[in-house]
């Protein structure tokens, strides 16, 4: 919820708003420190954190991912614990046992993050380590295998994309070259062949068209389907029906009549009203319409 404007380094109190290039690093306690402060503070290999006083080691700094110090702290602790508590689901006979195991891990992490029974918990972890050394080592190697497999898959996918791209480039080059050679062939034909000029040109055009179609067919197969969107319900198209009113009087001249018969010459509209769009024809038309309304009532 903090925005980056408020990201302060806890050593020198400069914010990333003031200096956008500021790089923060975090340590075991989760508190951010900027590059400069780290260099200044860690002349010796260890130094206390300016915020909470825990002893930090110089080579334990890493890039910060989250703004919240507690979260960073927890990430660190979690990584360490999971290196030790690394049993997998298939190591357990019953699902409930696996759940209990997971809950134990979470409790340990929570305790260590929030400083509850720290010594006890650390002792517990040590004991577990000693007891299950063999199991831990085996699982670790298994994890490594799993990770390797994933990284290999990712590498292969990247390779495939590369290959595709190169192929496309080659194709384009090939096409350009072909076109060039076709043109040259055409020129040669025009100069040396015994067939007439028109025939040569017609031939050329035909071959070009064929190639073009072939390319389009290929493209069409790879293109996505074009979807035509239609509205389900068939509504009636709106047709404009002009309003018919009976003014119970003789027919008033229309705007066209007014202009043609020069009624409008006898109308003067003030300059200010012209600005509002009140044309003389409108005023004229209105007055005459009112003069004829209900004349025969």
């Amino acid at each position: 919820m903090e925005d980056t404007r408020g990201n302060y380094c806890l050593g020198c109190k400069t914010s990333s708003y003031q200096n956008p290039k500021l790089k923060f690093l975090v340590n075991a306690c989760g508190h951010r420190l900027c590059d400069g402060c780290i260099k200044a503070m860690f002349v010796r290999p260890t130094a206390p954190c300016p915020q909470c006083g825990t002893i930090l080691k110089r080579n334990e700094f890493r890039d910060h991912l989250f703004d919240n110090a507690d979260v960073e702290k927890e990430i660190d602790i979690r990584k360490k614990i999971l290196k030790v508590y690394n049993k997998q689901e298939h190591d357990f006979k019953f699902a409930t046992d696996y759940d209990d195991y997971l809950e134990e891990i979470e409790t340990i992490i929570y305790n260590l993050t929030n400083g509850i029974n720290v010594d006890e918990t650390k002792a517990k972890v040590e004991r577990y380590k000693k007891d299950n050394q063999a199991l831990i080592a085996r699982n670790r190697s298994k994890l490594n295998v799993e990770q390797e497999r994933i990284t290999n898959m990712v590498k292969e996918q990247l390779k495939e994309i590369e290959i595709k791209r190169e192929r496309q480039l080659l194709e384009e080059k090939e096409e350009l070259r072909k076109r060039k050679s076709d043109k040259e062939a055409l020129l040669d034909d025009l100069t040396y062949a015994d067939v007439s000029v028109d025939k040569v040109l017609a031939n050329y055009k035909k071959t070009q068209a064929q190639q073009f179609n072939k390319k389009n067919v290929l493209n069409m197969n790879t293109n996505e389907k074009v979807v035509f969107i239609t509205t389900g319900n068939k509504e009636e198209i709106y047709t404009y029906i002009p309003i018919k009113e009976d003014n119970v009087g003789p027919k008033a001249p229309s705007i066209g009549d007014i202009l043609r018969d020069k009624y409008v010459k006898n109308v003067h509209v003030a300059e200010e009203l012209k600005g509002g769009g009140f044309l003389p024809t409108i005023a004229c038309s209105r007055a005459i319409q009112e003069a004829f309304s209900c004349l025969l009532d």
Binding site: I243, E245, D246, N247, V248, G249, P250, K251, D261, K262, Y263, K265, N266, V267, H268, V269, A270, L273, G276, F278, I282, A283, C284, S285, R286, A287, I288, Q289, E290, A291, F292, S293, C294, L295, L296, D297
Partner: protein
């Protein structure tokens, strides 16, 4: 000069729930609800309005010092106040447009077609009508500025009166607030005449002044409640033309406007125009102050005190109403409290 800065252009008012109609006279509420067949119908309605009231008074006491006012006298009083309205509006600065004034007068006419003058006195209603008309016609003026133009000594009283009666007037007018006046049709006809009959261009000023006189006179008659504004405008035009020496009836109307219309419809229209002109000549004039005082005295004696905001009867009525209202509220409160107690006791049990 035609300035159409005000209310919307001839636009089509389209709404998805109602028919599509335009804001013109042939689709207006004026045509639908407030146009009557002739003067006889109007006077019949007025008589019906006062019939019960006068009958009651007649039955009450046979001997009285002052006579009851007749319907004609009340009409004359109303017309007097219309003239007062005109004088009031002429005092406004910037000058109030004629459409606003006409709107106010039509409001008054309509109001006293559905309400008795014994219930609501014209001097209050007149102010409320003018204020309402300024709002409707977009001649916006604040109530305080409005009161500076009004010759009332007690401004506070006038203010409360106007604002109090404004809603009442709207309600009695059934909220039909758009009035179609003959002024724009007159403009239209003038444009037509100048285009079709070139000789009229030189006589335009004379025509205009005659038309204005005609319309000012016809405003006080019943014409705006009976005839469409286009016909009134045409009648004004034709008479003005006659006075200026142009036979507009023949040249413009018959040969140009009505050239595609059947002959009998033309004859009907000409007859109507004649009637309007006749009505204008008979248009009532302002009665003198003596007469007005007499009528007002009669009105003061016999008015329905329940509606007069100054009277004791009115105050008493309002107090009674409030008392009843308070009583009902108190009853409601006790009832609610009792119900609540019952519910709570049930829960506790």
């Amino acid at each position: 000069l035609i300035g159409y800065g005000s209310s919307s252009l001839w636009t089509v008012v389209k709404s998805y729930h109602f028919r599509k109609v335009s804001k013109m006279y042939h689709t207006s509420t004026q045509r639908k609800y407030w146009t009557f067949r002739d003067e006889k119908e109007i006077s019949q309605r007025k008589n019906a309005l006062y019939a019960d009231f006068f009958k009651e008074l007649e039955d009450k006491n046979t001997s009285r010092i002052v006579e009851l006012p007749t319907v004609e006298e009340l009409d004359q009083l109303c017309i007097f106040y219309e003239f007062e309205l005109l004088d009031l509006c002429k005092r406004f600065d910037p000058p109030m447009p004629i459409t606003t004034i006409a709107t106010a007068i039509v409001y008054m006419k309509r109001f006293y077609l559905v309400n008795s003058m014994m219930d609501y006195h014209p001097c209050d209603i007149m102010l409320a009508c003018v204020y309402l008309a300024t709002k409707v016609d977009e001649y916006n003026i604040s109530i305080d500025k409005f009161l500076t133009m009004v010759p009332e000594k007690d401004k506070e009283r006038a203010k409360s009166r106007i604002l109090g009666f404004e809603l009442l007037v709207m309600e009695k007018l059934k909220f039909h607030l758009t009035i179609h006046c003959p002024y724009r049709p007159v403009e239209g006809l003038l444009i037509g005449i100048r285009t079709i009959i070139p000789e009229s261009v030189s006589k335009i000023d004379e025509l205009k002044s005659n038309i204005n006189n005609f319309l000012a006179k016809v405003l006080h008659s019943q014409a705006l409640l009976i005839y469409p504004p286009s016909q009134i405008a045409l009648a004004a035009m034709i008479e003005a033309g006659q006075n200026a020496g142009l036979d507009l009836l023949e040249q413009y109307l018959k040969q140009h406007v009505m050239r595609d219309i059947s002959a009998d419809k033309y004859i009907q229209l000409v007859k109507k125009l004649k009637d309007i002109q006749d009505m204008c000549h008979r248009s009532p004039s302002r009665i003198n102050l003596n007469k007005k005082a007499k009528i007002e005295e009669k009105v003061r004696i016999y008015r329905n005190e329940n509606h007069n905001p100054d009277s004791h009867a009115y105050k008493r009525l309002r107090d009674e109403e409030e008392k009843i209202f308070e009583q009902r509220q108190a009853e409601k409160r006790t009832r609610l409290a009792r119900d609540k107690k019952q519910r709570e006791s049930k829960l506790l049990r």
